[in-house]
């Protein structure tokens, strides 16, 4: 985050910009896949860590932003 922003927000913006009009829940699954694939150094900087989003939805319809 210190250099380029957080994994979550930066990946979210990248995926949404590249896929206008697609179902947001589908896109968030893709965002989560990419974030989960990242290897990051933890605050102690001596071990690789992982990150994973949590998505909660009570949407009743598809939400497609464009």
């Amino acid at each position: 985050r210190d250099d380029k922003g957080s994994d979550f927000i930066q990946t979210l913006v990248e995926v949404l910009r590249a896929n206008p009009g697609r179902d947001l829940l589908e896109l968030l699954t893709e965002v989560n896949r990419r974030v989960c694939e990242q290897d990051v150094l933890g605050p102690d900087c001596d071990e690789l860590r992982k990150a994973c989003l949590e998505i909660r939805s009570s949407l009743r319809h598809r939400l497609c932003l464009q």
């Binding site: 380029k4 957080s6 927000i9 949590e54 998505i55 009570s58 319809h61």
Partner: protein, 208 residues
């Protein structure tokens, strides 16, 4: 009963109508969070590109988090035209039990903030998107080398149980919001429907 068919073509019954006003509120603590400015710029740019009327507030205190959400709700409720969709992004350091830390170091519960919009009249039946970029605890997700039959040098993620999630999530959503549900929602409609929440980390865990 007619079986559910996911291949149904997009239409008024399968997709939210986003043809009216879209509003976004971005609240970000950037002091003490190097690089957070990049997130604000990127997300703000995306929201504007997607047609959201976007409000950005930097370095809110815990109290200001609450006030901004309340103000946002009032703005929406007094909005002349219909509102199609709202997006709220909350970006800050997170406390050990999922709290957000305002610029003054004071805590605020994100679920309590999100609850503000459940009572917003003009948003009944409209999609509400919440993005939370913050730690939700102090448990670290680690890598571990696979053992036994899954071995052969492959790696897979495992959970680091430095402390139990039970203690990490002791201040759970249900406890926070118990008794605070919205009164006056239209009959037969849940005030908890049409909400999409995306957390940058699992409950109890550190976000990177």
């Amino acid at each position: 009963v007619e079986p559910w068919r996911p291949e149904l073509a997009p239409g008024p019954n399968t997709q939210y109508d986003l043809s009216k006003t879209r509003a976004a509120l971005l609240l970000a603590v950037i002091q003490g969070r190097p690089g957070a400015q990049h997130d604000v710029e990127a997300l703000g740019g995306l929201c504007r590109a997607l047609g959201f009327e976007t409000t950005v507030r930097m370095d809110p205190t815990a109290q200001a988090f609450r006030e901004e959400l309340a103000q946002f709700q009032k703005q929406l409720d007094t909005c002349r035209g219909p509102v199609s969709c709202v997006l709220v992004a909350l970006m800050a350091h997170g406390g050990p039990q999922g709290q957000l830390l305002g610029a003054d170091g004071q805590e605020v519960q994100p679920e309590a903030l999100m609850q503000e919009l459940s009572c917003c009249r003009v948003l009944w039946g409209r999609p509400k998107v919440f993005l939370l970029q913050a730690c939700r605890g102090d448990v670290l997700q680690m890598y571990a080398e696979a053992q036994g039959p899954l071995g052969n040098g492959n790696f897979f993620p495992c959970w680091s149980l430095k402390r139990t999630l039970e203690s990490a999530s002791s201040n759970s959503f249900s406890e926070v919001t118990a008794g605070s549900s919205c009164r006056g929602a239209p009959p037969g409609r849940s005030d908890q429907a049409d909400i999409l929440t995306v957390y940058s980390a699992a409950e109890g865990y550190v976000a990177y």
